[in-house]
Amino acid sequence: MTLEDAFRPRVLVTKIGLDGHDRGSRIVAAACRDAGMEVIYTPPWQTIAAVVKVALEEDVDVVGISSLATDHLIVPKLMNALREAGLGHMRVVVGGIVPDNEEALLLQSGVRQVFHPGGTMDEITARIRAYALEARQAGAHADQGSTP
């Protein structure tokens, strides 16, 4: 059995900032769960610090941020906070309403992918699984690197 087969991704699905429209995050969380992933789901309106804490404690592979009302504008701050907490190996994806010009800014800040409306759940879960594997491998490298 390969690593890929045995592997169960751990995914945090959450919302930061001010908006609470959670239809999308609930549907994606359900789809990840149904695709066999370990899903950590939070209510909306999390602070960046709270997301970093949950990501650390739950040792997730992927952080999924749903943004329907401009909260993606503070995702670059989240990326910095994750790196500062030593969680730079985690992959961050954003889903929701993100204008083209701001998508570029998110990708520059380290976001792995932005999912726009219209993607199927199969497409989204396949990408998340692939990113989780990347994160797990990057995390393993990081661990080896720090071993004396």
Binding site: G17, L18, D19, G20, H21, D22, R23, R26, I27, A29, A30, R33, V39, Y41, T42, P43, P44, W45, A69, T70, D71, L73, I74, K77, I97, V98, P99, D100, N101, E102, H116, P117, G118, T120, M121, D122
Partner: protein, 560 residues
């Protein structure tokens, strides 16, 4: 010799029907079962047999007459057009005012005000991430900001809809503004568009402020206050829109909304209020999805259910209390980021469904709402769409033009039955308050949202440009998004901070204590204290934070 051609009509109705059924069966290559979003089967043809009241002397009644299937007024849109109320809100109060006056010049007949999400959540601008300020609505934190928003708007004359959840700080700021301009509160008209706290707890969205019991009390105080002191104000807008946007089917959205209205009305009655006094000031707010006939039937069915509920269950005696007045907004969820200009066609169809459904007020979405707060160009097309439907296409020349259609009447009956069945589920759970408290309604809506997603993912439900008829990348048709000017927002923030610092700490504390005393005294009116607080110079966050402390700030239900 010249034998006449045999008429297909001569054989009699039964034979004709049998012949059609045979021809239909033979000609249809693949027949598939079809049902609408609410789960009602849709047949290929409707006739007299499908409409239970067909053949009765007066199967539908007349517009303006109970049970109002054909509309709540005798003249409907032929007599008076609906209110063109475009939602706007962005940036600083000065930005908002500029956009508002522009849109009123182009035909909008009423004000709507959408505040920044920070305001909805009960915060001031100095305690949230600055990147988010004014990106989804206007940053209004005190009475001075409201005065600036409404500069040049005659509050004696123009109806203002405020997106203003409990504890109604925006209305408080507006009433203080009216006082300052010498406008009598008795002339102030409009609607508290987001007074329905139950819908906020169902669909989380951005409104979360007070706990369920706290919000319930403040709503009743607000209704009592407005009925007495601002009699032309509509303090209660029962909202089905959030629930349908969150995934409820049209029948569920109507059923939950009517159940909410019953809950709020019975709460008012328990407080000693008279249904004939408060019910005429109840309004409703709905989503209009693309499911055209289903939406028309939803509104027609809801209207007559409400007339009966108001009369029979709530005991209202005046017809004004039975009328189902509603604002509707075309559904943003139906709009697509892909090939966004297609959204103009979608919005036109949605708007038609609302018009044929008999709405009183309409917001048409801008085509670019699928990816941003509407641009000015997008908002202009949205307003023009309404004008085209009314004045070029003449949709309003005839009242209830779909009335008497076998399909529409059969569907109206079927939707009514479905809505009543869902209302029964809520009733069995102890009414809407209990059904929301327990999460029943949230679970039902979540399940419906998943079902709809599966229909889209499987291709059973076509979405042009998304799961069918896809085109190459069409980024060029999506305008670049503009965010509020950071320098202007910083100046707004600096002025606000200076204003806060200028105030007397003693006066602020006294105003906050007065708010607490009202919250602690069950016989006091908390909303009256909110207005006093606004007048004394309290900010949005100061009022909200104090009431959260005193009346509770429950956690939202969240589950997958």
């Amino acid at each position: 010799m010249n034998k006449p051609v045999e008429s297909p009509f001569a054989a009699g109705a039964a034979d004709a029907k049998a012949r059609w059924e045979r021809e239909y069966r033979e000609s249809m290559v693949t027949e598939r079962a079809t049902e609408n979003v609410s789960g009602i089967p849709v047949h290929p043809l409707y006739g007299p047999d499908d409409w239970s009241a067909y053949g009765q002397a007066d199967p539908l009644g007349f517009p303006g007459q109970p049970d109002y299937t054909r509309g709540i007024y005798a003249t409907m849109h032929r007599g008076r057009t609906w209110t063109q109320r475009q939602l706007i809100g962005l940036g600083t109060p000065a930005d908002y005012n500029e956009r508002l006056l522009g849109i009123m010049d182009r035909g909008a007949t009423a004000v709507s005000l959408i505040p920044c999400n920070s305001v909805y959540r009960g915060y001031d601008m100095d305690s949230v991430e600055p990147e988010l300020l004014g990106t989804c609505g206007v940053v209004v934190n005190n009475a001075d900001h409201m005065d600036r928003c409404l500069e040049g708007v005659d509050l004696n004359r123009i109806s203002c809809a405020l997106n203003d959840p409990s504890p109604f700080t925006l209305l408080a700021f507006m009433l203080v503004t009216a006082e300052g301009r010498g406008v009598d509160w008795k002339n102030v008209t409009g609607t508290s568009n987001q007074s329905d706290y139950l819908s906020h707890h169902v669909a989380n969205h951005m409104f979360y402020r007070l706990s369920l019991p706290g919000a319930r009390r403040v709503l009743l105080d607000h209704i009592a206050f407005c009925n007495e002191k601002v009699p032309r104000w509509n303090p209660m807008s029962v909202v089905g829109q959030h629930m349908q946007q969150a995934g409820a089917t049209p029948a569920e959205a109507m059923a939950f909304t009517l159940a909410t209205a019953v809950q709020n009305a019975e709460d008012c009655i328990a407080r000693g209020m008279e249904p004939d006094q408060f019910l005429p000031r109840f309004t409703f707010f709905f989503d209009i999805s693309l499911s055209f006939f289903e939406e028309v039937a939803k509104f027609r069915a809801g209207r007559r259910i409400w007339a009966r509920l108001a009369r029979e269950r709530l005991g209202a005696k005046k017809e004004a209390a039975w009328r189902f007045k509603f604002h509707a907004q075309t559904s943003g969820v139906d709009l697509t980021r892909q090939q966004p200009l297609n959204n103009i066609a979608r919005v036109a169809v949605q708007a038609m469904a609302g018009i044929f459904g008999g709405l009183q007020s309409l917001h048409t979405d801008a085509y670019d709402e699928a990816f941003q707060v509407p641009s000015e160009a997008g908002a202009r097309i949205a307003v023009a769409t309404q004008n085209i439907l009314r004045e070029e296409a003449h949709l309003t020349d005839v009242i209830d033009p779909l009335g008497g259609s076998f399909y529409v009447e059969a569907l109206t009956d079927a939707m009514e039955e479905k809505i009543l069945a869902i209302m029964k589920t809520v009733e069995d759970a102890g009414g809407m308050y209990k059904a929301v408290e327990s999460g029943l309604v949230q679970r039902m809506i979540g399940a419906s949202a998943l079902r709809l997603q599966h229909r889209v993912d499987s291709g059973e439900q076509t979405i042009v440009g998304v799961n069918a008829y896809r085109a190459d990348d069409d980024a060029a048709t999506r305008p670049a998004v503009e965010r509020p000017d950071p320098a202007k927002m910083q100046a707004h923030l600096d002025a606000f901070s200076a204003w806060k610092a200028r105030r007397s700490a003693a006066a602020v504390n006294a105003a906050l204590d007065a708010l607490s005393r009202a919250a602690e005294d069950p016989n006091a009116n908390v909303f009256a204290a909110v207005v006093d607080g606004a007048r004394a110079g309290l900010s949005n966050e100061e009022i909200c934070a104090r009431l959260r402390r005193d009346l509770g700030f429950g956690q939202p239900l969240a589950f997958v």
